[in-house]
């Protein structure tokens, strides 16, 4: 039987990724964040230099240090796959690997670490991420990490009060909010500026004091945060709207156990 009879038997014209089960705006929100075809809303405009200063990996306007020569000049063994896959701009010019670490508050932040990881995998290329309870590390080439940070800070997945950039001492996501309703930060990287009402970073991601503070804009109000919440809870989407999610999760658990025990057990299930 030639391969043509095994593969492509049934052409699927209209295939759409489904991403996540469930009714209601929480499930929809979870689908939107990971769906690259749906654009995120841009909330604020941050200059590129401010992003560079926030990350603190190089001086604004400074050169990118490189780890190896640009890929065009690199002598490598012949490999068709290397020529096939398109490298990112950072990889192409041999940048160093740098990181950004985002922390999401437990108290109604616009995104959660586990969802943030899925967003990285569907929206960015060449990512390396580690996800923990509160922090999500993203490692990429330097140019790419700057572009990704700009996107993440400007879009709706960032709230100046409930998400933050922290490399050291990232704890505080589950502590009470501070007196200004900002996520608690032991290093006090950001303050609420009473004159402008903006949240202003006075230290960069590594908690080094900045020469010039960087305002990131107004905190999103509680009502709006509720509208973009990604957690099922008593005042967003209640338990019954989670029914489909629970069905799928229990199906995953059941099939994993049965299939791991004897693969043929889950045929036609």
């Amino acid at each position: 039987m030639p391969m043509k009879e095994r593969r492509g038997k049934n052409k699927t014209r209209e295939f759409q990724s489904q991403f996540y089960p469930g009714f209601g705006y929480v499930s929809d929100r979870r689908r939107k964040v990971v769906d690259r075809s749906r654009r995120l809303v841009k909330l604020r405009n941050i200059p590129d230099d401010d992003i560079v200063r926030l990350l603190g990996h190089r001086a604004p306007g400074g050169l990118y240090l490189s780890l190896h020569p640009p890929l065009d000049e690199l002598m490598e063994a012949y490999d068709p796959i290397k020529e096939l896959v398109v490298p990112t701009p950072g990889a192409n010019s041999g940048d160093r690997l740098r990181f950004v670490q985002m922390v999401d508050s437990f108290w109604r932040s616009p995104i959660a670490p586990w969802l943030r990881q899925r967003m990285y995998f569907t929206r960015f290329r060449g990512v390396d991420t580690v996800v923990e309870a509160e922090r999500t590390l993203l490692e990429m080439r330097e140019r790419d990490v700057e572009a990704a940070t700009k996107l993440m800070i400007e879009m709706e997945v960032f709230d100046t009060a409930r998400t933050a950039l922290r490399s050291i001492t990232p704890q505080g996501h589950s502590a009470r909010l501070d007196e200004m309703d900002l996520m608690f930060d032991a290093r006090k990287r950001y303050i609420l500026d009473f004159d402008s009402g903006h949240v202003t970073y006075i230290k960069n991601m590594h908690a080094e004091t900045l020469d010039k503070p960087i305002p990131l804009g107004f905190p999103v109000s509680d009502i709006e945060l509720k509208a973009i919440d990604v957690t099922f809870r008593h005042d967003t989407s209640q338990y019954k709207s989670k029914a489909e999610v629970l069905m799928v999760l229990s199906r995953i658990g059941e099939l994993r156990i049965l299939g791991g025990y004897k693969p043929d057990l889950i045929n036609n299930l």
Partner: protein
């Protein structure tokens, strides 16, 4: 023939190498080429003559750490033996000592170019008569000791200290220790059996970087070599028996041998895409090939229009997801050209894949995701496992799957453009040279196919 499955095999440029091979022809139990590779791994040792010479001249013996050789440091006992210069004489003597018959047998002792590395292949008769795969170490060490003693005229009468020096240089403190010391000048593809992690994991005692060097950093070749060893180990461990034999063979074929061009098509379709795109392409391929299907009605179509897919052949769908996993690793690492990006794909791809397919298990029923979660932690800040290239296949971080993780790691190390501390060139540089004298490692996919064509009628 036990199984009806047939596969076509394609190379890394998308060209067809063979059509309609029975899947059993690529089993390590049946495929003559794989058996030759495995026998070569078991029966070959290498001796670093340059290192022996410098150890003897400086009087440094025993345990070697990364920074220095400091267990025994007695320069006043150094000997001015020109070992590299006398390489050809040593080779002749060793041949005579090792061979079983006076006539021809398959003993092979030869020097690599530069005369500093000696390759010793132990005759099959000695391997067959042995209870384990240790003769490359024991026979080579003893034969080399006798050869050195004869060439440099060392005996208790002429040079009593020289006798001890030869023993310490070649085997360190062994047999007080479990095996030869780290950094010993006598080494093999595999580690000694006293250092392996469990029963039947012998073929897994080779590191990723060594395999990458043997493939000369060509992605598909490294994937194939790694998979041969992994699957041979799975067969030896009893992990690939009965219920799991077809499961492993299909996953091996689709993930590592590019069966039915699934892997290549996924990479080519998404060469500028993300991991999410690979997942979407994989599900679409599964639907088009009728491996998974959309059901109708409530349990399969939920009220939010979410579809729960089901499969009539889970081993085949697992093979598809394993191919998707490798494609996702190649696309992600190929984009960043940094090998560290591979670890998080294991958890990310599995996570996206099982929600996209409506609850069908992720690759290897969740074992890949379990490995991914641990590997991301330990290859970053928390544990510091020292870079994925330096891991052996039986490292406690990656050994828990049925052999579907390490091919991805090998592919990542091939695509790396020099960002790792433990690079193949630095940790396994000698294996690049070894590959030059062993043509068996060139074009492994083609050789597997040729061997499979030969045996398929006899199955």
């Amino acid at each position: 023939m036990k199984y009806e499955d047939k596969i076509d095999i394609y190379d890394d440029r998308g060209n067809c190498l063979a059509e309609d091979l029975p899947v059993e022809a690529i089993s390590p139990l049946n495929n003559p080429y794989m058996i030759r590779i495995l026998n070569l791994m078991k029966s070959t040792a290498f001796v670093n003559l340059r290192k022996i010479e410098s150890m003897i001249q400086k009087g440094n013996f025993g345990y070697t750490s990364v920074s220095r050789q400091d267990e025994i440091n007695m320069p006043w006992h150094g000997r001015a033996w020109a070992i590299v210069e006398n390489g050809p004489a040593i080779v002749e003597k060793m041949k005579n000592i090792i061979k079983v018959h006076n006539g021809q047998d398959d003993t092979n002792v030869q020097l690599l170019s530069g005369n500093d590395i000696m390759m010793v292949t132990i005759p099959t008769r000695r391997i067959q008569a042995a209870s384990s795969r240790d003769p490359p170490f024991t026979i080579t060490a003893t034969a080399l000791g006798q050869a050195l003693a004869e060439v440099f005229d060392v005996s208790p009468a002429t040079d009593p200290d020289g006798v001890n020096i030869i023993k310490n240089v070649l085997v360190g403190r062994y047999p007080q220790t479990m095996a030869f010391p780290p950094g010993n000048p006598i080494f093999s593809f595999l580690r000694p059996s006293t250092q392996q992690e469990g029963l039947g994991t012998g073929y897994k005692t080779i590191s990723i970087n060594q395999l990458v060097a043997l493939a000369e950093k060509r992605t598909f070749d490294a994937v194939v070599l790694t998979s041969i060893l992994e699957q041979a180990a799975q067969f030896e461990m009893g992990n690939t028996l009965g219920w799991f034999e077809r499961y492993n063979l299909l996953a091996f074929a689709y993930q590592s041998l590019n069966a039915d061009r699934l892997l290549f098509d996924l990479i080519q379709e998404n060469k500028a895409g993300t991991i999410g795109d690979i997942v979407a392409s994989l599900i679409r391929a599964g639907l088009e090939d009728e491996v998974i299907k959309r059901g109708r009605g409530f349990p399969y179509k939920l009220f939010s229009d979410y579809r729960v897919y089901s499969t009539k052949d889970y081993p085949l769908w697992n093979a598809y997801t394993c191919a998707g996993l490798l494609a996702a690793c190649i696309v992600n690492v190929g984009a960043s050209r940094a090998a560290q990006s591979v670890a998080s794909v294991f958890s990310g791809f599995s996570d996206l894949c099982m929600f996209e397919s409506g609850g069908l298990p992720d690759p290897d029923c969740g074992r890949v995701m379990g490995v991914g979660l641990g590997l991301t932690k330990f290859s970053h800040n928390e544990g510091g496992c020292g870079g994925i290239g330096s891991l052996t296949l039986d490292s406690d971080l990656i050994r828990h799957t049925s052999g579907f993780i390490s091919p991805c790691l090998a592919a990542a190390m091939c695509l790396d453009s020099g960002t790792q501390v433990y690079r193949p060139e630095t940790t396994a540089g000698v294996f690049f040279r070894i590959k030059q004298v062993l043509p068996i490692f060139t074009d492994p996919l083609k050789k597997i196919v040729e061997a499979a064509e030969r045996v398929k009628s006899a199955l």
